[in-house]
Amino acid sequence: MEDIDRITTKKARNNEALLKVKDISLSFIQYTSGLRQTELKVISNLNLEAYSGEILAVVGSSGSGKSLLAHAILGILPSNARLYGSMEYNGQPLTQEKKEEIRGKEIALIPQSTNYLDPLMRISNQVIGNVNEKNKESIKKLQRYVFQKYNLKPEVDRMFPHELSGGMIRRVLVSTAVISSARLVIADEPTPGLDEKNLKETLSYFKDMANKGCAVILITHDIDAALKISDRIAIFYAGTILEEANIEDFANDGENLRHPYTRALWNALPQNKFKAIKGHQPMQDEIIEGCFFYERCSIKNELCSKGIPELKTINGGLVRCNNVS
């Protein structure tokens, strides 16, 4: 596996997690045709921990509800969403009120596309955000400085979002997080549509943030990109996280991976065996009693069809499986 400066980033983790997501579930009340009301479960029993100075990648297929995890942490879910479970930030319970108080200051989101910029507002005004007149000058200077660093020319300040190229948009979005000086950065699919050069560059921004002591959550469907820069990878499957593995566990054939799904995913990559297992991810409206991977699992037993497996810590990583030790 090609490796970039992994050694420099590996730090001893003696501190507490900055963000703890404990057993959250998320569902939507929605109307289908003819106004039948249904509840759709998108996330269930999901656990997650993010540490300062580390990049945690959440990897899962597109459209599986990963973005909603980010929105749940920030407290910006739509009104028809129901969120269960609890979160902790810096040792304190992270309630909706707390989220509203600290988002933009302590927690920053890096969204995925141009749609997340106000189409009628000039770039610098958006990046600076809603600040009072007193601080405006200094933040303006900071913004210019960050833009300079990301190679965004002064004329970009006065442009509208649609006048920027995809790569420039990406840099603008990243710079919003840098300016906010947040301690927790959540990047939602920051890589699709980027060519190799831009991809490397974008990934290096996240590396920088982590090196400065931020906790970075990188939500992506690109396991390749995740492997390049993250410290840990959480595998998102059917609305939950089946395993949180350290990057080293992916070495060789992935023998050290804990969950059979993670191993199957690893084996399916084109650079590895390019071998698939049978079956499909369960659909969102399917009700599953046991382990979400039960149908496709090769090491299942009777217990697995009854109730969701307990979360276990094995070999420095987390896993939801009855049959590993």
Binding site: Q30, Y31, S33, G34, L35, R36, Q37, T38, D285, E295
Partner: protein, 285 residues
């Protein structure tokens, strides 16, 4: 693995859910309109007879809407007027829908046809609507026919515009291109791929056209065009009432107008709620 959709049933404690409320509202409103039309058909000459002993009476139990200067019961006159308005509205909406179906489909034939339709829509929208109806009804010799034709011939442009835009958008869809690549004919694509998207638009468009047509018919009649003073149209009742305003006979204007408002509101409600049933994404508030 069991496949199921969780249907939330709030049960008795939560009252009716939105779907039930919507359907109930639509049924109630439709029933109301239907009753008015049927009643208006059964009102005969006798019940509208003049009775000079009881002229200009304020509303009472016997005459809920009062009586006019000829002693006619305003409630019965109003019902009959409303029935007439709804029927004219129905006729005008159907004609206008028909025109927009034809023009919409015609616009999909080719570029020249499309620019012709778009030009025609622009032309009809360039003259103030009320003035256009006046002009057309004069062209057809005025009278009831003139007004009905005027109203029927002028309500298609907005629906045509919607349909044309929808067809245009549908034609750029990947699944339509794919169908073409499968060697399917234009006709096949039009009926199987495009039409299913258009039908709800037409149904909704027709219902939402009703209130406009009715209001325009009433307005034109009020201004003195069209229906003769003997017809019990709402517009005529109201324009007559103007003469008696300073005399303080407020009920002559108030109740008939309010009834017309309720009818219009009923159509708007039906249209809106039907829209919700067809497009549930908008049903969240």
């Amino acid at each position: 693995m069991s496949t199921a959709v969780l249907t939330i049933n709030k049960g008795l404690s939560g009252g009716l859910n939105l779907r039930q409320k919507t359907i109930l509202l639509i049924s109630f409103m439709s029933l109301l309109l239907l009753t008015i039309v049927i009643c208006s058909l059964f009102i005969n000459e006798r019940s509208l007879s003049t009775d000079f002993d009881s002229k200009n009476l304020a509303p009472s139990l016997k005459h809920p809407f009062g009586t006019d200067w000829m002693g006619r019961d305003m409630f019965i006159r109003t019902i009959e007027g409303l029935g007439l308005s709804i029927m004219i509205g129905a006729f005008a909406s159907l004609i206008s829908t028909l025109i927009s179906v034809i023009l919409g489909l015609f616009s999909s034939v080719g570029k020249i046809a499309d620019s012709f339709v778009s030009w025609l829509v622009d032309l009809f929208l360039s003259i103030p609507h009320l003035l256009l109806i006046i002009l057309i009804s004069i062209g057809f010799g005025g009278g009831a026919t003139g007004v009905i034709i005027g109203v029927a011939l002028t309500h298609w442009p907005s629906l045509t515009r919607v349909v044309r835009a929808e067809i245009k958008q549908l034609k750029t869809q990947e699944y339509v291109h794919i169908s073409r690549n499968f060697g399917k004919s234009r006709w096949w694509i039009a009926t199987k791929h495009i039409l299913p998207h258009l039908i709800p638009k037409f149904i909704l468009g027709t219902i939402l056209m009703f209130p406009h047509a009715i209001l325009h018919e009433a307005s034109i009649t009020f201004l003195g065009f069209g229906l003769s003073p003997h017809e019990p149209a709402i517009g005529i009742i109201l324009s007559e009432s103007m003469k008696y305003l300073s005399a303080g006979y407020w009920w002559l204007a108030f109740f008939p107008g309010l009834s017309l408002l309720i009818v219009i509101l009923a159509f708007d409600m039906i249209g809106e709620n039907l829209g919700k049933l067809m497009n549930p994404k908008k049903a969240h508030d």
